[in-house]
């Protein structure tokens, strides 16, 4: 008859780990009440560890964590605010340029300086050059301004939808 089982042998036996002398262990357990009792105690301990309780989180835990990761009002809109402001300014500038006839102001500017120095001449030609350039590109400017403005409005709509209300139609 083999010696009493060690604690490790008992635990291995209960975990179902294969052992070299598995048959001997079983034979010993069948004949030794002391070891059998110790194994039963380990078994009860295993059961107690498996059914341990006391890990309760507050009932609204999942919801409150979700609220922390996804606040109701999104912090950042898809289009940065400065872009929207820039778009509005650009659109307004384009509108003014097209709606108001500025040529008289330019004429006044030109006529007022009958005797110009070479420097003044250069400055004026640069200014008119820029204005010409602006005139050529103005259609492009208007188009991009309009596109940005549309983006801004769309962003507003999306934001409102996310909050669950469409403010435009409220």
């Amino acid at each position: 008859m083999m010696q009493h089982l060690t604690d490790d042998q008992m635990q291995d036996y209960l975990e179902g780990n294969p052992s070299d002398n598995q048959a001997e262990i079983i034979v010993h357990l069948a004949s030794c009440r002391e070891c059998r009792m110790a194994v039963v105690q380990y078994q009860t301990l295993f059961q107690g560890l498996k059914n341990d309780t006391g890990f309760e989180l507050s009932p609204g835990f999942a919801v409150s964590v979700t609220r922390r990761v996804a606040p109701e009002a999104p912090k950042s809109s898809p289009v940065p605010e400065y872009l929207l402001i820039g778009a509005a300014v650009a659109a307004a500038a384009c509108a003014i340029y097209f709606l108001v006839d500025l040529s008289s102001i330019f004429d006044l500017f030109k006529g007022g300086f009958a005797r110009r120095t070479a420097l003044e001449n250069a400055v004026t030609s640069t200014v008119t050059g820029v204005l010409d350039l602006l005139n050529i590109k103005s259609n492009m400017l208007l188009l991009s301004g309009g596109a940005l403005l549309t983006l801004g409005i769309l962003d507003g709509v999306v934001k409102s939808l996310k909050r669950g209300r469409l403010y435009f139609f409220a």
Binding site: D7, Q11, V40, L45, L49, K50, E56, F61, S64, T66
Partner: protein
């Protein structure tokens, strides 16, 4: 796995309900580890929240190379270790009487016929678990409560398999000895 992938995809597109589902699915596992490793009751729930916020932030980087539960447990375990280090909690408390044998503790060697887990013993067991070193408590929880294999526990904790096994076996032996010291002689049924 396919369901997990789908859930992660939904979370990453900003579906907050999907994230709630994710939390509900893993809060048991996370709370097991946090409650076992952290003694301070006031900090436990905050820590669980922290873990989920961290998981949320790192979800895009999860490549499904392990089970989701393994990854969740690993993040939780290391978050708790980090917390314990900050609080300067010793990870290996001195264990008195570890090398006592069953007979030493049980006294006259008279063992109870039954060792049923009554409410009383369950409470006592919890108290005794709390007295164990933090690594012992952790492997006990992962193995018994979350039914993780040695291999999974190794992946979660980075402890070698032999160490996991020795912590587990020593922890159980200690618990059995201490419960016997408490209830053995009375022969509880």
């Amino acid at each position: 796995m396919a369901e997990e992938r789908e859930l992660v995809k939904r979370i990453l597109t900003g579906d907050s309900r999907a994230f709630t589902e994710f939390v509900l699915q893993y809060q048991r596992l996370v709370s097991h580890i946090v409650f076992r490793m952290v003694a301070n009751e006031a900090d436990r729930e905050d820590l669980c929240q922290d873990v989920f916020l961290g998981l949320y932030r790192n979800l895009a980087g999860f490549r499904f190379q392990s089970k989701m539960s393994t990854w969740v447990a690993r993040v939780t375990y290391f978050r708790c270790l980090n917390y314990l280090e900050k609080k300067k909690t010793p990870l290996f408390e001195d264990i008195c009487g570890e090398d006592q044998t069953i007979a030493d503790v049980a006294g006259n060697g008279e063992l109870p016929d039954e060792f049923a887990v009554s409410q009383d013993i369950a409470g006592r067991l919890r108290e005794e678990i709390d007295k164990l070193p933090v690594h012992y408590r952790t492997v006990l929880t992962l193995y018994h409560l979350d039914e993780m294999s040695y291999q999974e526990i190794t992946k979660i904790t980075d402890l070698p398999k032999g160490t996991v096994k020795s912590y587990l076996f020593r922890a159980r032996r200690l618990l059995k000895q201490r419960l016997e010291a408490q209830y053995g002689a009375e022969g509880l049924s």
